[in-house]
């Protein structure tokens, strides 16, 4: 490079986050001594407007042509400072960032050593940036179609938002119907409006919307490509009922040779029975029957009278249906794959599955629901109505034996169930909680309301066991809850006829596979990891893939819907810009160095490298290159160069950190 290199170095205090450990003054002083450094300053908050302005002024005053900012992680603020550099009239890629906060001041205690490290890192950046060359910003067009995975309230809301904005949405749901967990709820806290009344209209909108392709009973089988242009394979499971022909008249179900339901009904949590051909629930969307080959006689024996076929005057039933794979292209993806309710049998001390009349909260939702298995009548296994009900909070939450985290919704839905059970049965209701968490809008007020209700007790303590052995007369033949009333300071035994386990929220069992397929990350507890909890809560580390709802962490319905809206907005922002800027870190071949050995060609995961027969050299199609640099590292004659990560640049950096 002929031009004279003029570097400006800016060391950020980040309040005391950096300056508290690292002696920023001496770092800046040291830096001022390095070759090419024209100005070297430290400033309280480099990311603030005055901080950025400082850079721009210096560029003009000292006509700087290289900028180094030593502050936080580039994953957080690189774009901020690149823009500042550009505004100052210098190419944004003639900039280098040093991570003094996440990689130094926050992780080290010894001030002297931390400062030494900071100096080394800054020195490395100064040397590196000198070799930077001006680069073009790289843009790729965005395919306006969107894929949404998961048809719960999150997926539904995001789908409608985008569809209403005129975008084509593919909504993929693995169950035969959309609606997710919310469809199973009776009422919703804190307003107690009926879940169906607010959800089912949205479900029908989805069915009717011209911009939504609803693929229920389907799963994503594979994803490749990158932001703007993902190619997705969707596996559509056979429901053995022709989607075009079926009008959901239920005649086939009437006609099934099973006169009564015989198999556990998934929608009613197994509290009722369905036939092999069934309708998930009356307001299911799509309104289509489905056949379960596991239980259908025709599939098991091939000798069924097929009364269902006869009953269908539209010949919709088709036992020969096969699984099909659809391929689609989309520009953005929203994951709304939801949660799994904690399996209460993992805590044998609560007797779920071994003692009768111990239920999970989801089962109670169905039990109190007027369209549920008992038409809303809450009855015990012996047909009687409970005189007292114990609701145990934090089952599978806040417990290192199962799940460490607070599931956020259990306190409130327990209050809701307390109210509903009281309403339905008039029973004494006992809530066993550790801490009552009511942080949402109107939640504390709802708690107040429950505190007012008679026959409703709140006992602070985690229940040790639910047993069926009696110490006293009144305990005979009932369930007994043993707990310390921590506010009273002694242990109590409370006989109940029914016990409700308020189970927590877990990542879905397939979360890890989904994560791999979409190339995103999970946080330690297994929920999908957002790019930044505050600055990018619905983004992932993979551009163009967004998160909505409980797949990102436990959430109530209001938060889920809000997040779904946010995810839709993020997707829209990308789509309407029409293109997205990518790191210009692609690789190119220096033809006269290339020996044509073909090593790189096999290595490229994106088939971006081809061989030019005339020139006898490799060629990289930069539209396909994603900038991993594997070919660069592999090239025996160092004929491949990766922009922003040139060998020379990295070697300078190495030397810099080591001097």
């Amino acid at each position: 490079m002929s031009e004279e290199i003029r570097v400006g170095v800016y060391v950020c205090h980040c309040g005391s986050n950096i300056a508290g450990i690292i002696d920023v003054k001496s770092v800046a002083e040291e830096a001022s001594k390095y070759p090419n450094v024209v100005v070297s300053r430290e400033y309280k908050y480099m990311c603030s407007d005055p901080g950025q302005a400082l850079i721009q002024e210096d560029i003009k005053q000292h006509n700087l042509n290289r900028i180094v900012v030593a502050s936080c992680s580039p994953l957080l603020h690189e774009h901020t400072f690149r823009n500042a550099t550009e505004k100052g009239g210098v190419n944004p890629f003639l900039f280098q960032m040093v991570n003094l906060r996440e990689h130094d001041s926050w992780v080290h205690e010894d001030k002297e050593k931390a400062t030494k490290k900071a100096i080394a890192l800054v020195r490395a950046a100064v040397r590196r940036v000198a070799l930077h060359s001006a680069l073009e910003r790289k843009e790729v067009p965005i395919n306006p179609d969107v894929l949404i995975v998961g048809g719960g309230i999150a997926g539904i809301h995001a789908a409608l938002t985008l569809a209403n904005a005129g975008k084509l949405v593919y909504l993929v749901e693995k169950e035969p119907t959309i609606g997710g967990h919310m469809a199973k709820f009776d009422k919703t806290f804190p307003t107690l409006d009926c879940a169906a009344c607010i959800l089912t209209p949205k479900m029908t909108q989805v069915r009717a919307h011209p911009n939504i392709r609803l693929w229920s009973y389907s799963e994503v089988a594979g994803v490749d490509g990158f932001v703007g242009n993902f190619r997705v394979k969707v596996k559509r499971k056979p429901r053995y009922v022709d989607e075009e022909a079926c009008i959901g008249c239920l005649a086939c179900i009437e006609a099934c040779i099973y006169k009564e339901g015989k198999f556990p009904d998934e929608f009613n949590m197994g509290l009722s029975k369905r036939k092999p051909i069934y309708f998930p629930f009356p307001q299911a969307v799509p309104q289509l029957a489905v056949i379960d080959p596991e239980t259908c006689i025709e599939f098991k024996t091939g000798k069924c009278k097929k009364t269902c076929v006869a009953a269908c005057d539209r010949n919709a039933i088709d036992f020969t249906q096969k699984e099909t794979i659809e391929e689609i292209s989309v520009g953005t993806i929203i994951l709304a794959t939801g949660f799994k309710a904690f399996d209460a049998s993992r805590m044998p001390e609560y007797g779920y599955g071994t003692l009768s009349n111990v239920y999970t909260a989801l089962e109670i939702e169905r039990l109190v629901n007027s369209s549920g298995p008992t038409a809303g009548e809450v009855v015990l296994k012996n047909g009687q109505h409970p005189k007292s009900v114990g609701i145990i909070h934090c089952v599978g939450s806040r417990d290192e034996k199962t799940n460490k985290w607070c599931s956020r919704v259990c306190c409130m839905y327990s209050l809701k169930l307390a109210h509903l059970l009281r309403e339905h049965t008039g029973a004494e209701i006992y809530n066993f909680y550790i801490d009552m968490r009511a942080p949402g809008k109107g939640y504390e007020e709802f708690y107040d309301r429950l505190l007012q209700e008679d026959g409703t007790h709140f006992i602070r303590g985690r229940v040790a066991e639910v047993t069926d052995w009696a110490m006293t007369e009144e305990e005979e033949g009932r369930l007994v809850i043993r707990v310390e009333d921590t506010l009273a300071g002694f242990v109590r035994r409370i006989p109940c006829d029914m016990v409700v386990l308020s189970v927590g929220l877990e990542p879905t069992p397939d979360a890890q596979d989904v994560r791999r397929m979409f190339n995103i990350s999970c946080s330690t507890e297994g929920f999908f990891l957002e790019r930044h909890p505050k600055l990018a809560p619905v983004n992932t580390f993979t551009d163009g893939i967004f998160l909505a709802g409980t797949c990102q962490g436990p959430k109530d319905i209001p938060d889920t819907v809000a997040q779904a809206g946010a995810a839709a907005a993020e997707a829209l922002a990308l789509i309407d810009r029409g293109s997205i800027e990518l790191e210009p870190n692609t690789a190119y071949v220096v033809e006269d160095k290339c020996s044509g050995c073909h090593t790189c060609i096999a290595l490229c995961p994106y088939n971006a490298i081809s061989y030019d027969e005339e020139k006898k050299v490799a060629q990289i199609n930069e539209a396909l290159c994603k900038g991993c640099g594997t070919c660069v590292a592999a090239c025996p004659s160092s004929a491949i160069v990766q922009r922003l990560f040139e060998d020379a640049e990295i070697l300078e950096e190495i030397e810099g950190v080591l001097l």
Partner: protein, 192 residues
């Protein structure tokens, strides 16, 4: 009627004790206690304790040394380990109880009228000298040392044990007593 003084001044708690509790074997996680009370609830003896385990853990954490070491709680613990198994935060409550017993013995402060520390010390002595314990002996010694009256309640048991050949006045012991002694002595100055 006397009124118990029920206010605590900071001067009455001992931060060093609170510190110590976090350093004992098993006490590492004590600060994570969320006072859920499952330890008390699952404890078959909490109903007799002056402080249920949950409360004791809190008092220890806050440095109320006197209350903790004088509580009968630590001596009523029968080492059934239910609390340790159930604890939401995997705090080794039983081990903490052991450590508190040791501390109480070291400092010679006990809950009134509890014979257990005596038993523990007799047991300790017997093992040290004989290498083995003869329960029948322990029972007798303990009764003589603590509550002589109780012995009458026990006689039937004693006779029954004699009748069935389960009681013996011959102390059992190991061969290489001095080997054991020097083993234990070599750990003498080691911190417990």
């Amino acid at each position: 009627m006397t009124y118990k003084h029920m206010i605590k001044y900071e001067a009455e708690c001992d931060p060093k004790f609170a510190e110590w509790v976090t350093e004992i074997v098993g006490g590492e996680k004590i600060r994570q206690c969320i006072q859920c009370g499952i330890c008390s609830a699952t404890c078959p003896l909490s109903l007799y304790m002056d402080y249920p385990p949950r409360k004791l853990i809190h008092l220890a954490k806050e440095g109320f040394k006197n209350e903790v070491l004088r509580s009968n709680t630590i001596w009523l613990c029968a080492s059934c380990y239910s609390c340790t198994v159930e604890c939401s935060k995997q705090i080794k409550v039983t081990d903490i109880m052991y450590a508190l017993k040791r501390r109480a013995i070291e400092e010679g402060v006990f809950a009134k009228g509890i014979p257990i520390p005596v038993l523990a010390k007799e047991f300790y002595k017997m093992v040290r000298s004989e290498g083995r314990t003869t329960e029948s002996w322990l029972v007798v010694i303990m009764l003589l040392k603590t509550n002589i009256l109780k012995i009458f309640g026990m006689t039937t048991l004693g006779l029954n044990l004699l009748r069935t050949g389960r009681f013996s006045f011959l102390k059992d012991s190991i061969k290489r007593k001095d080997e054991l002694k020097s083993l234990l002595d070599s750990l003498e100055e080691a911190p417990s």
